[in-house]
């Protein structure tokens, strides 16, 4: 069972309290009624499903109820960081796994 840091509660809580909610950073087109089939395909059907770092949404279902984003390594299952919905996709390349990971623990009681 994973431990997940909720960026709203600022606490690490067991996975049981959370619900996975698909890939992150896929914005619903504002003019959705007018987009082409190809654009709709990209928006609705196509997902990255990478081996390695993935950006995904989670909801603290049995906690604060908020949706948030997470960067997780699908190989190690390790959460690299979590951040609030609406925040830009972080550049993990520069920060490096370890540094980002400790940043995500900011606010967690020791």
């Amino acid at each position: 069972m994973l431990l997940i840091h909720c960026p709203y509660c600022e606490e690490e809580r067991p996975e049981l309290e959370f619900r996975h909610a698909g890939e992150a950073h896929i914005a619903r087109p504002e003019n959705i009624a007018e987009i082409s089939d190809e654009e709709f395909q990209r928006y609705f059907f196509i997902r990255a499903n990478p081996k390695g770092v993935t950006f995904e949404r989670w909801r603290h279902m049995h906690g604060c109820g908020r949706f948030f984003n997470a960067a997780r390594d699908t190989v190690s299952d390790r959460f690299l960081m979590t951040y609030m919905a609406g925040e830009p996709k972080p550049d993990l390349g520069k920060a490096g796994g370890g540094a980002v990971r400790s940043a995500s623990r900011k606010g967690t009681p020791a």
Partner: protein
């Protein structure tokens, strides 16, 4: 003592003699025995028949790795545990064990004939022999194979025991209580860290139970282990768990442990859980899981009496049992010499030590020679004889020469030790192959763990203890638990014992080209030849070899066999071992009962049961209930011995003739409030909402972004900024989740608040021509006239003096009301409505009648008449889409070409040509019943009932181009016959819809 092979009482309690039976025969043992040690003390080696060939099998090991000695333990009629390893089952007074996989008896087994058919059962036989014809698989092959090849029999009664579950957190979890584990726990706990030490044995000590020469802290190893365990147990910051196996290493240092609490007791307290599952979250983990000895792979290596050298030694030194009266030793490793030495010193005749190596050296080798034991260096055991027990072994020089027979009633073998890296591997750590010692050892760690002692490849006791002390202190420090300066623990540990790499793979006599049966995997009856055959037939990866031969796939998961199989495959492939790969270790390390995993979550506690406020009333009325999700809903209310059909027919008629009262409290309810509430509704539902008047209701359809129906329900507007939304029963959580998702992440600027109110409101539906008359006396402050409160409207007022939301809506097609009152008042309002209803001949009705009545009107149920691939147009609900809207969830999905295709399945009504025939829901529909099989299926029945009001059966169905087929005859093929149906409109009753005002 009447246990002929018990030389001494070993470390057991001689005062306590225990009685037990094996296959009905009575024996005695001592307290502290395992079933295996007690059997051996009585000279019993034959304990089972092998899986495929039914070969006689004995006891291989003295521990958890046992592949052979699997027995059934029968406590009573309900407590029959199959596949128990005799080597870990502690003896208790009255224990009854039975052998498995034999018929009619263990000594004479008809299935042993399989042995003669061995070539037929060779590798991959499952895949090749029984392929065709397909029907023969079900009727012939499978039953025969299941009977012939198998393990124990599963109990046929529910498990009467109960199991508990605990979560625990600690600074340092140490898995394994041998010398290394104890030392690590000692050092970690010295710092004040919270430590959990788990050991699978009843008493910690690990390999010290057989190592005679070990001295730690000036005391004999075993004595030190017991003192240390007692010291640890006494510490407030240590939890010592014995009989506890660390079986799974999961993400972020969470480990699963299972603690066995009663399996060793003669008369367990029925209130005591049988097992306890520990889910431990540890800041640091120290793995001290030891090593597992491998057997030698040589012809006839599976006869009873042939066992691991360390096991023979454990039986001797710990249990005081000689495994034979004339014991031979066959080894490629130093450690087995100690077995010979210990046996000889206890007066057991040692036939010879056969060593594959040409020039073995070392203290134990010298000592063996000094004791007068014949050491045959550069020799191999190339065959064995003896029907139910080994009697003689054939020994030959490795590099040629005449063979010779040696009498022996037991053979202790060792080809070396395999570090138990199972948990490390489960933690996703990368294993590294050490070329020099030819072992897989922990390489790169992925989690916060350390390995110490034998599982880390550390051979000497001195090094292992030192490594463990360091690791324990380091783990505590890294866990942030070491407070101030704590004393560094130092221990002087020494032992003359050493173990070297040994060898893996086939020994002489079992080389390529030899037909001999040299077993690699005892439990699945896989021989060296089978592994080679797999490679010859094209298997390249060890994962393929494993699946083809089933090596390593039995309940022991190949603890003694994996490295042998891998080595043989690598030799065949001419590739180095690491290139062939190692099969993945997966939890559990040893078998875990379903009971332990499930804990209390079974029966009534399996999941929550939700009951409506009127549940007790309905129960008292004799209602029959059905499960709808977690809800218990009144299904129908039989009167005076009615069956379901009669009750539903009566309820259906009563509703349409006078009235019926129905508990609709399970409907999901969501309150949508805020200045942007209407805008939000516009986005969530296909319908227009901005112009819906206050006090008016509308039937809403919610889509997913792909354009398919997700939910539906009636929505009432209570104020400019307030909507009362209803959802399908059980649909409320996902609908609210869906709404929250859009509100939080796509439309965060909207000022809207969503609140689940499903549990807050009790909903009482009163439907039928008399419904207004029934509720009128109870309602205050609401004008119920058709002018003031037309169909599809909502008012707030009081019912029975209780604040209420009164809806005039109908899921029956009749004049109808739904009274919403706070749930706590639900029962008393229901009783008041019921009392009024009695005056008008109303009945209570259940969900079945609700279903029939709505089907008579062609009202759909999302999830029954839709399946996640149905659009509003498919369901005949295109009218509910706001044509002028520029956005709502699903607006673009609906425009996809496939969703507009004319041949889509559309919801229509069906009437059977014979009005008495009721179709089966889910039945397929075809246009021509005489076409050849497989027929083209053009749809299926979604809802089907007997309608007493229509005097005939009615059905709804999804049919390709259904609305174009009105009046067409279609067919529903059934096993006996094809049923003829006519395609009709969805509304079967009151087509004009006049009765809502009737």
């Amino acid at each position: 003592m009447i246990q002929p092979f018990r030389l001494t009482t070993g470390r057991l309690d001689a005062a306590e003699i225990l009685r037990f039976t094996f296959d009905g025969k009575s024996y005695t043992g001592l307290a502290g025995d395992t079933l295996a040690s007690a059997l051996l003390a009585n000279g019993v080696h034959l304990v089972g028949r092998s899986f495929k060939y039914h070969r006689p099998r004995g006891i291989l090991s003295a521990g958890a790795e046992e592949p052979n000695a699997l027995v059934g333990i029968h406590r009573d009629a309900a407590r029959k545990t199959p596949n128990v390893r005799a080597t870990v089952q502690e003896l208790y007074d009255g224990l009854a064990a039975v052998s498995q996989n034999r018929w009619p008896s263990l000594g004479f087994d008809v299935g042993g004939l399989n042995n003669l058919g061995a070539p037929f059962f060779s590798a991959g036989f499952y895949y090749k022999t029984f392929m065709w014809p397909r029907t023969a698989w079900e009727r012939l092959y499978e039953p025969i194979i299941r009977r012939a090849a198998g393990l124990g029999t599963a109990p046929d009664r529910p498990d009467p025991d109960h199991y508990s579950n605990r979560f625990a957190h600690c600074d340092v979890l140490v898995v394994g209580g041998g010398a290394a584990g104890l030392a690590a726990a000692l050092a970690a706990s010295e710092t004040g860290a919270r430590v959990i030490l788990a050991d699978e044995q009843a008493v910690p000590g690990g390999g010290l139970r057989f190592e005679t020469g070990a001295v730690i802290d000036g005391k004999p190893g075993w004595e030190w282990a017991q003192e240390t365990a007692a010291k640890l147990a006494a510490r407030d910051n240590v939890r010592l768990l014995t009989r506890t196996t660390g079986f799974g290493y999961y993400a972020q240092n969470m480990l699963g442990l299972v603690e066995r609490l009663t399996d060793h007791l003669s008369a367990p307290d029925v209130d005591q859980p049988r097992e306890r599952l520990w889910q431990v979250r540890a800041k640091r983990v120290v793995l001290a899981t030891g090593a597992i000895e491998r057997h030698m792979v040589f012809p006839g290596n599976d006869r009873p009496g042939i066992m691991l050298a360390s096991a023979a030694r454990a039986y001797l030194n710990h249990f005081g049992v000689a495994v034979g009266s004339k014991v031979a030793v066959y080894t490629a490793d130093d450690s087995a010499y100690a077995t010979a030495v210990d046996l000889k010193k206890r007066g057991v005749e040692v036939a010879a030590v056969i060593d594959l190596r040409p020039t073995p050296r070392g203290p134990h080798v010298e000592e063996s020679r000094e004791l007068g034991i014949e050491v045959l260096a550069g020799h191999a055991v190339v065959g064995t004889t003896g029907r139910l027990r080994v009697r003689r072994i054939e020994v030959a020089p490795v590099y040629g020469g005449a063979s010779r027979q040696i009498e022996a009633d037991a053979l202790a073998t060792s080809s070396g030790w395999t570090p138990a890296v199972h948990l490390f591997s489960q933690s996703r750590g990368k294993l590294a192959f050490d070329e020099e010692t030819r072992r897989f050892l922990p390489g790169q760690y992925v989690q916060d763990a350390l390995s110490v002692g034998a599982c880390n490849g550390t051979a000497s006791l001195t090094d292992a203890v030192e490594e463990a002390l360091r690791a324990g202190a380091k783990a505590a420090k890294e866990a942030g638990a070491a407070k101030g300066r704590s004393k560094t623990v130092k221990l002087d540990a020494r032992s003359p014992e050493a173990w070297s790499a040994g060898m893996a793979g086939a020994a002489p006599g079992a080389e390529a080209g030899k037909k001999a049966m040299a077993f690699v995997d005892f439990q699945n009856d896989v021989t060296a030849k089978d592994i080679r055959q797999a490679v010859q037939e094209g298997m390249r990866s060890i994962e393929h070899v494993k699946r083809f031969t089933t090596a390593g796939m039995a309940t022991d998961q190949g603890k003694t066999s994996n490295l042998h199989a891998l080595t043989i495959a690598s030799e065949m492939l001419g590739k180095p071992v690491p290139k062939v790969g190692l099969t993945t270790f997966r939890p559990p390390y040893t078998p875990v009962t379903f009971g332990a995993l499930v804990g209390h979550s079974r029966g009534a506690l399996f999941e929550p049961t939700r009951r409506t406020p009127t549940h007790a009333w309905a129960e008292a009325q004799g209602a029959v209930f059905e499960d709808v999700g977690q809800w218990k809903r009144a299904w129908y209310f039989p009167q005076g011995g009615e069956d379901m059909h009669a009750a539903v027919a009566r309820e259906c008629l009563t509703v349409r003739h006078s009235a019926g009262i129905f508990d609709a409290s399970t409907l999901g309810k969501i309150e949508i409030v805020g200045p942007d509430a209407a805008r939000f509704m516009e986005l969530m539902y296909t319908n227009p909402w901005q112009k819906l008047g206050i006090g008016r209701c509308r039937y809403g359809i919610m889509l997913r972004e792909d354009g398919f129906i997700y939910d539906d329900g009636v929505v009432g507007r209570l104020a400019e900024d307030r909507f009362h939304v209803t959802t399908t029963t059980g649909g409320a959580p996902r609908v609210l989740h869906h709404m929250e998702d859009y509100l939080q992440t796509e439309f965060p600027d909207l000022k809207v608040w969503l609140t689940s109110t499903s549990e807050q409101w009790a909903t009482i539906a009163v439907q039928g021509p008399k419904s207004r008359d029934i509720i009128a006396p109870l309602v205050e402050g609401i004008d119920l006239s058709d002018e003031a409160m037309p169909h599809m409207s909502v008012r707030e007022g009081r019912v029975c003096g209780v604040p209420a939301r009164l809806f005039r809506i109908s899921f029956t097609g009749e004049r109808g009301f739904e009274i919403n009152v706070p749930a706590d008042y639900g029962l008393s309002v229901w009783e008041a409505v019921w009392a009024e209803g009695q005056k008008h001949g109303a009945c209570a009705y259940g969900t079945e009648t609700m279903h029939v009545l709505r089907a008579e009107k062609g009202f759909i149920i999302v999830g029954q008449d839709t399946d996640g691939t149905v659009t509003p147009d498919d369901a005949g609900l295109a009218w509910a889409i706001g044509r002028k809207k520029t956005d709502f969830v699903g607006i673009r999905g609906l425009e996809r070409p496939d969703l507009k295709a004319p041949e889509r399945r559309q919801l229509v009504g069906l009437k059977t040509s014979d009005p008495k025939t009721v179709l089966e829901e889910g039945a397929q529909i075809v246009a021509d019943p005489n076409q050849p099989v497989p027929m083209k299926m053009i749809g299926f029945v979604t809802s089907s009932y007997w309608s007493e009001n229509c005097g005939r059966s009615i059905a709804l169905a999804l049919v390709e181009g259904g609305r174009e087929r009105m009046g067409e005859r279609l067919y529903v093929p059934m096993p006996e016959d094809a049923i003829e149906v006519e395609v009709v409109p969805m509304v079967f009753f009151d087509e004009k819809g006049e009765r809502t005002n009737g």
